[in-house]
């Protein structure tokens, strides 16, 4: 998993819960990296799971709720780093619909080893987008946060619902409506 996902995550934890929580979840997790992350590195996905689980235990907030908040936060990081790419899309629906066909294609060119989720678009109209999330990581709540935030980015209101097509959350259908 790309380092930026870890650094941004710990930044958010520090921002919301303070440095001591950061220290605690690092201490409570068994981390090969010892909690030392740089955005240009690559780290094991299990470290993220550990950090998230420990944060959830500590804060009594469900992991998926944490992930969703992290998703909205991560969108800002994307805007900061890749704003010019985002600006090429005229609407949040266009942006979301082209995640698979365009954005991830470019990501793979930069990071051939990136393990990316797949977003299968099944319906795309002016105000509706239905897409199915596929990933063994089951981070659909993170994706949900990113989606919500992208509407905010364009100052648009949205309604996003999802349905687990597989219980473990590895295949999830999102229905996104522009309001």
């Amino acid at each position: 998993m790309k380092g930026i996902v870890f650094t941004e995550f710990l930044d958010l934890v520090e921002q919301k819960f303070g440095l001591s929580v950061v220290q605690q979840i690092i201490d409570n997790s068994e981390l090969e990296s010892n909690g030392i992350y740089t955005s240009v590195g690559t780290y094991k996905f299990t470290e993220m799971v550990s950090l998230l689980t420990n944060l959830s235990n500590l804060t009594k907030i469900a992991p998926n709720d944490l992930l969703k908040v992290y998703g909205t936060h991560f969108f800002d990081a994307l805007v900061k780093n890749y704003g010019s790419i985002l600006n090429t899309y005229k609407s949040p629906l266009d942006l979301l619909a082209s995640v698979d066909a365009h954005i991830h294609v470019e990501v793979r060119k930069l990071y051939p080893d990136a393990e990316l989720p797949r977003f299968e678009v099944t319906k795309h109209t002016n105000d509706t987008l239905i897409m199915i999330y596929h990933s063994s990581r089951a981070l659909y709540a993170f994706a949900h946060g990113l989606m919500e935030k992208s509407f905010e980015h364009y100052n648009q209101a949205s309604e996003i619902t999802y349905k687990l097509l597989k219980e473990d959350g590895t295949i999830v259908q999102f229905e996104i409506f522009k309001k």
């Binding site: 440095l19 950061v22 690092i26 030392i36 740089t38 955005s39 590195g41």
Partner: protein, 399 residues
């Protein structure tokens, strides 16, 4: 600040420091990787460059790469030699080589190239390095950048001056040949007609003399015989002249696209010529309908059949007419059972005025007319024969 807070901050600082070092290490590795990839790219580019360069040099015809304003950016050795410019020493704009009269057409063609992206077989006159006017043919196309905007035009130039010269010479030759052919024909006609008039007078005069001196002739067998010979010779002369007229007339008609039913043609021929009682004519098949001119085909078969009748066996003559339907040709055969023709004459018989017997009615024109018609139709004629083996004439006409 409490100790625990200090401790927390120290830990965080230590993590950040280590993270920075790790990042530096990763970046160092990345730049090394980039350097290696860059080196590889340079090698690949060099190889491509060498390949292009050798291709460029191998092209025998002049090759030119120019910007859209006609300034030559690159050209091969052939182009340098042809135009006499050395790009390393001077700039070269292709418009400077254009022959003045051809400039409007060149500009029109160039705008077509800009519009369509390619221009094939553009012919124009240009000056070479010796300021000689040369005809060239250019095949050109545009070179586009990655945004699909034209940036260069390039083309292969072929010097066609010599080709055009040969072509013109050929056409000139053909024109001259046509003219002299016509003159020859006219000559044949004039001569024949001019010869016929005095011949008719001679015939009349001799006949009158014969009548006037009939009382004398009656008693003198020698004079009578000479008068007969004289008239016969005049007759032969008349035949010969008619032959020339017919022969000269053959190439007046080109092979037309009319459909001619050969069965009907053969029937008409056999009805119209006198077939002696001892000769039987067998037309073996239903003959095809072929493309051509009825009069010429009639002439063709009539000459062959008359010949066959004339030289068929004197007691029981047989003439057979048949054909074979081949893929691209019709092959016709007219066969007799006569005395045959010696092999040494097989070619000669088709020449005009060549006859193998002294028969007064034989002028040696018939087979030459056959030959002329057949060659006019792009066909072939040949003979199969031997002494006392009969003769068969074969004609092959393209379908």
């Amino acid at each position: 600040m409490s100790d625990s807070k200090i401790e927390l901050l120290e830990k965080a600082l230590k993590r950040e420091k280590l993270a920075r070092k790790e990042a530096e290490k990763i970046l160092e590795e990345k730049s090394l990787e980039l350097y290696e990839v860059n080196q590889n790219l340079i090698t690949v580019l060099d190889e491509k460059e060498i390949q292009l360069e050798s291709l460029f040099k191998t092209i025998v015809d002049p090759y030119i790469l120019m910007d859209l304003y006609g300034n030559v950016v690159k050209m091969n050795d052939a182009a340098t030699t042809f135009f006499g410019y050395n790009l390393e020493k001077q700039s070269f704009n292709v418009t400077s080589t254009l022959y003045k009269e051809d400039i409007p057409y060149a500009m029109k063609s160039y705008s077509e190239l800009l519009e369509k992206g390619v221009f094939r077989n553009f012919r124009t006159r240009v000056y070479n390095k010796k300021r000689e006017v040369r005809w060239i043919e250019i095949n050109s196309s545009l070179v586009f950048d990655k945004d699909n905007n034209p940036v260069f035009a390039h083309g292969i130039v072929r010097d066609i001056t010599e080709d055009l010269k040969f072509q013109n010479e050929r056409e000139e030759l053909l024109r001259n040949l046509t003219i002299s052919n016509k003159e020859l024909n006219d000559f044949a006609h004039v001569v024949s007609h001019d010869l016929k008039a005095p011949l008719r007078s001679m015939n009349a005069l001799v006949t009158w003399l014969q009548e006037d001196f009939s009382s004398v002739i009656k008693d003198n067998e020698e004079i009578d015989q000479n008068f007969h010979l004289l008239i016969k010779k005049i007759d032969k002369m008349d035949h010969l002249i008619n032959g020339i007229l017919k022969y000269a007339g053959v190439d007046k008609v080109e092979r037309s696209q009319n459909k001619v039913n050969l069965s009907i043609v053969l029937k008409e021929i056999i009805e119209n010529i006198q077939v002696p009682k001892h000769v039987s004519i067998n037309v073996l098949e239903e003959f095809p309908i072929i493309r051509g001119d009825k009069f010429r085909l009639h002439q063709l078969f009539q000459n062959l059949i008359s010949n066959a009748i004339k030289y068929a066996n004197k007691e029981q003559g047989e003439v057979t007419v048949s054909f074979i339907d081949l893929e691209n040709n019709w092959e016709f055969k007219v066969k007799d059972n006569g005395i045959g023709i010696e092999e040494k004459y097989h070619k000669k018989i088709f020449d005009v005025f060549q006859t193998l017997d002294d028969n007064n009615s034989s002028t040696g024109v018939g087979l030459s007319i056959v030959n002329k018609i057949v060659s006019l139709y792009g066909g072939k004629v040949w003979v199969n024969s031997g002494i006392n083996k009969g003769t068969s004439f074969h004609i092959s006409l393209p379908k």
